[in-house]
Symmetry: C2
Subunit: 365 residues, 2 copies
Amino acid sequence: MTIGILGGGQLARMIGLAGIPFGLQFVVFDPAEQVGGSAIGRHVRASYDDEDALIEFAGSVDVATYEFENVPVHAVSVVEQHCKVLPEKTALHETQDRLRENQLFNRLDIATPRFCVVDSRQDLTNAVETLGYPIVLKTRSGGYDGKGQVVIRSEDSVESGWIESAQDNLLAEEFVPFDREVSIVAARRPSGETVYYDIAENVHRGGILRTSFNRPGDPIQGLAIEYVNRLFDELGYFGVIALECFQVGDSLLANEYAPRVHNTGHWTIEGAEASQFENHVRAVLDIPLGSTASRGYSAMLNCIGALPDRDLCLRVPGVHFHSYDKSARPGRKVGHVTVRADSPADLERRISLLPDFFSGAGDAL
Amino acid sequence: MTIGILGGGQLARMIGLAGIPFGLQFVVFDPAEQVGGSAIGRHVRASYDDEDALIEFAGSVDVATYEFENVPVHAVSVVEQHCKVLPEKTALHETQDRLRENQLFNRLDIATPRFCVVDSRQDLTNAVETLGYPIVLKTRSGGYDGKGQVVIRSEDSVESGWIESAQDNLLAEEFVPFDREVSIVAARRPSGETVYYDIAENVHRGGILRTSFNRPGDPIQGLAIEYVNRLFDELGYFGVIALECFQVGDSLLANEYAPRVHNTGHWTIEGAEASQFENHVRAVLDIPLGSTASRGYSAMLNCIGALPDRDLCLRVPGVHFHSYDKSARPGRKVGHVTVRADSPADLERRISLLPDFFSGAGDAL
């Protein structure tokens, strides 16, 4: 049995590592020359508009999935004519435009930050009037890791913000003074079973995720489950999904969903009975899903730009090191480290023992 | 950084799965056409006496190790002229002959069953007189999974046992009426750090390992550590080692050691903070070793001859499925299942929910 993955980066790599123990083979499709996913299977190197390559890829696998949300919907349309693709492409389509995504949330009674469409300079002025400062001006499509976003905090920065943005096809959102950022990662399989991980509390800096902590027994878990269930139902979704929210008091405002395994679920590799990667594989194969129960307390710390000193990390008990085998580059996620412990106090102590590379990582504890 | 592995079976496969997250590449060397290890790296298919192939293999890796104890010592001698090999070949040499191995144990004050060398029919008669019935007649080299062993229980079966055996280069051992079989898996790295997993209690049937249970806090742990330390010291050993013993009362009689990751340590993948495979990689690279602390209670159940119904297994919480991607064949280890739980009672309950394939697996609980 062979699983094809559109996208061959670290998420494909970790899906493969979780799937090989099931006796599965993997093929990854990615235009890049060097991909971390090549460690776990054959790499088809081709552009997403190369239909012949897509057809060859689809013909060599039993089922296909994707590891990032910007896979062109057209590519999935080609692939699904030759093999099953899960999750179905609707989930890609809905999330590839922030306006459509926000409208979907609101249609499902999932609260979001207030937002306005901005297609002109005048729209921006109107948005400022409607939403008040600060506002977040975002491209409607193609953004990731804080790219394609600019925060406008006052009259003074409207013009510069407008120039810095793509100036077209934008969305303005109110800046939410959130108490914290949380996400829920969940999996559903075609036979109907659904499982949910404990929510993660996340810290971003410069638009890039820095740390995620699992939060067993959190009071907001129930609401997060309710929201993600509405997405599953509406999208006819099978596989792992992640929903990122701002928490304000007892309410959650949806920021975005990702139709794939998610950075805020990496802690599940060591911190849950079965990882998000394993459950994605199980969901795509439609076989019984694994327990999502947390095993103690975990912190996932991203390695941005470069890897920390590996040996200094490994001296700390409960540390698990994940290199994506990518070259160092500013702002690039090249690996992550998970710290696991049986108590919050032990977790805090272990994080404090990490090298300076991660200074401040424990602030959200 | 690339690690080469002599032998490309399931142990190489699991070493690779543990090492890829460190950003490592793997090359496996194995004469077989299809090997499970090819999922995690390049497969050099050649005979162990093909020096050119061994040299090419050695030239393509930074450090080499092995995944089974019957790798010809000569092959390692060739490889080590071109790259570092850990553990060093002494450990292979000493264990490839059961007489030499028993003599090593006794030299280190590690008790063994009483034994006699048997090179003739007369030797066998003498051995029976010395040891009494039943005796175990074993080939001195090449045996595994109960192959190359015959139990002689009475005068009536001496002749048939003699005929069934290789009739040469044999060892007769007293049959030990053991209370249980236990093993310890441990790792040492060149910089000196040594770590020990909780001992496993093992059940063999027909000479093949069926189940292993970790035994946190077992009173025999200290003696097992003492014995394995003597082996580390004597052999100048770096990497993971396993020592299998019979327990009789408060004493341990060494049966054999394996200079490699070991079937009775497979439970550590999910049942310990860092697995034996990860620690073998860390030891071979001489980087800080991972915590061997058990995470709850684990049972490892071998899949002999064929795989059980995967989905029936996966319906049981805490079950982890490992296919080695090998074709079914009577007596062949083609996979294993680990059941993990936070309490012995939960573990027992979960084992009882497994499909009939594993009936009797919980008997040693």
